[in-house]
């Protein structure tokens, strides 16, 4: 399954019609020790590229933006209880939310993994 990325370092993957969202390995590494994750409420309607969650590390506080529009149908309570899991597995078990997407055409606004890796090289 293809994973897509935003310029703000979120990732999204469509699994059985639902968009699974998290922060990229690069972002987790850059933030350092993650100490707090603010999750959105269930049922919240989010718009693509709008802030809808937040994450804090020892070094910085940072917003999380929705990679796709839709409705929040599940949040990962495990990352709220143990924020350090985002450092351990940012692109797998430490997903942040699941969103029921309202318009999958929005995926075209995102980067593929290859494009994202190219984008990261440009940041260095």
């Amino acid at each position: 399954m293809e994973t897509y990325f935003t310029k703000e370092h979120e990732w999204v993957r469509i699994e059985e019609g639902v968009a699974v969202v998290g922060i990229s390995d690069y972002a987790a590494h850059l933030l350092g020790d993650i100490t707090f994750v603010e999750l959105p409420s269930l049922g919240k309607v989010v718009k693509q590229f709008q802030q809808f969650a937040a994450i804090e590390s020892v070094k910085a506080a940072s917003d999380i933006y929705a990679p796709l529009s839709g409705k929040v149908v599940q949040v990962n309570d495990a990352v709220e209880e143990r924020p350090e899991t985002v450092n351990e597995s940012p692109e797998e078990s430490a997903w942040i939310v699941r969103v029921e997407p309202s318009n999958l055409d929005e995926l075209q606004e995102l980067m593929t993994r290859a494009q994202y890796e190219e984008f990261l090289r440009g940041l260095e």
Partner: protein, 364 residues
């Protein structure tokens, strides 16, 4: 911009894959590959080694009163016993803190003054201007290296390499001794709230000492990120954040480091503050979540902005956000509630006593 200075251990930090960043004009290790929280925990449980070569050292040789040193700081230098050290302040005319520092009484007429990195040049200028000129006063910062070995295992590590004799040093005492064949000072002081030592030695030998101490499995390197968390958990002030040239020791809740029975620059203003009260005071607070308050976040009492945060972090030991800030004295009531705000972020907090973390081994 001025070129960042590098300590003699710069290449060692690069080899250890440290994350380096500017601090006080120096390019310093913020963390190594294990991360800030792991380094913090290692210091609380084992023993951490910090490169503190950026801090400054001055040497004063001469009569303490005749040479003018006795009147320079908020504490008496001449009453420090030889072999002991004392913490206090260099103030400006307005009672603001030019620097916080420690004076080591090396001999009857010889002291070492240890100052913050960013303030070395200004401190030296200010202190020189207050001396009579009869004493020999010089900046030995470049020639002097400093390593901090901190943590409950620090004594066992130190005595393993340098003999049991050093293990008997009490808190705020030091010994001039020989380490690795060179003259050094071993001081039972630190900035972490744990049992620990500050080691001063010639810069040319510091790499050898760094490697020797790291060869012990109980010792791991730690950066300035962990150091900041450690000091905040025990409520130590950070110069430039919690204290500065417009903050007096009385506002900063540090009156015990001011001796009103002697003369010092800034005394008149402090006497006035003691008499009439201050307009703002330091408070410590705990957040009701894992959110971190941070420097310059606003402090509210109900809907009124009453001050700002000067230091804040997530405390690994307490499992919540902790912070220090300044508010009017009428609002500085332990147990009362504050709201910390910054842009979209808001967190509830409760004023508490210092230190936040009370179980450190510092006096062990």
């Amino acid at each position: 911009m001025e070129q960042l200075k590098k300590t003699p251990l710069f290449q060692d930090h690069e080899q250890l894959k440290a994350l380096l960043a500017p601090f006080g004009g120096w390019e310093m290790p913020i963390q190594y590959s294990g991360g800030i929280i792991a380094e913090h925990r290692w210091c609380r449980e084992q023993s951490a080694l910090f490169d503190i070569c950026h801090m400054g050292e001055f040497l004063y040789e001469g009569d303490l009163e005749g040479g003018g040193l006795e009147g320079v700081f908020t504490f008496s230098v001449k009453s420090i016993p030889v072999g002991r050290s004392r913490y206090g302040f260099l103030l400006n005319e307005g009672g603001g803190v030019i620097d916080d520092l420690i004076v080591f009484r090396l001999a009857q007429e010889k002291v070492m003054i240890v100052v913050n990195a960013a303030t070395i040049a200004n401190d030296f200028r200010v202190i020189s201007s207050r001396l009579a000129g009869t004493a020999n006063f010089r900046d030995i910062s470049d020639a002097t290296a400093k390593l901090d070995l901190q943590g409950p295992e620090a004594r066992a590590v130190l005595t393993r390499f340098f003999g049991d004799d050093l293990g008997t040093l009490p808190y705020f005492a030091f010994r001039e001794t020989s380490l690795l064949g060179v003259e050094a000072i071993v001081s039972r002081t630190g900035y972490t709230g744990e049992l620990g030592y500050e080691l001063f030695l010639p810069a040319g030998k510091v790499q050898e000492l760094w490697e020797l101490l790291l060869s012990d499995p109980r010792v791991k390197p730690a950066g300035l990120g962990a150091r900041d968390l450690l000091r905040l958990e025990v409520g130590y002030s950070l110069y430039g954040s919690d204290i500065n040239e417009v903050t007096s020791p009385l506002e900063a809740g540090l009156p015990s480091f001011v001796n009103f029975n002697k003369e010092f620059v800034g005394k008149e203003v402090l006497l006035g503050q003691r008499e009439a009260g201050v307009s703002r005071v330091k408070v410590a607070f705990k957040v009701d979540s894992r959110r971190s308050p941070r420097h310059d976040y606003d402090i509210y009492f109900q809907e009124e902005k009453i001050g700002s945060v000067t230091s804040g972090a997530f405390s690994p030991m307490l499992g919540c956000g902790i912070g220090i800030g300044f508010v009017p004295p009428s609002r500085a009531v332990v147990g009362s509630h504050l709201t910390i705000r910054h842009e979209r972020v808001s967190m509830e907090a409760t004023i508490c006593d210092l230190p936040f973390y009370r179980d450190g081994s510092v006096r062990g």
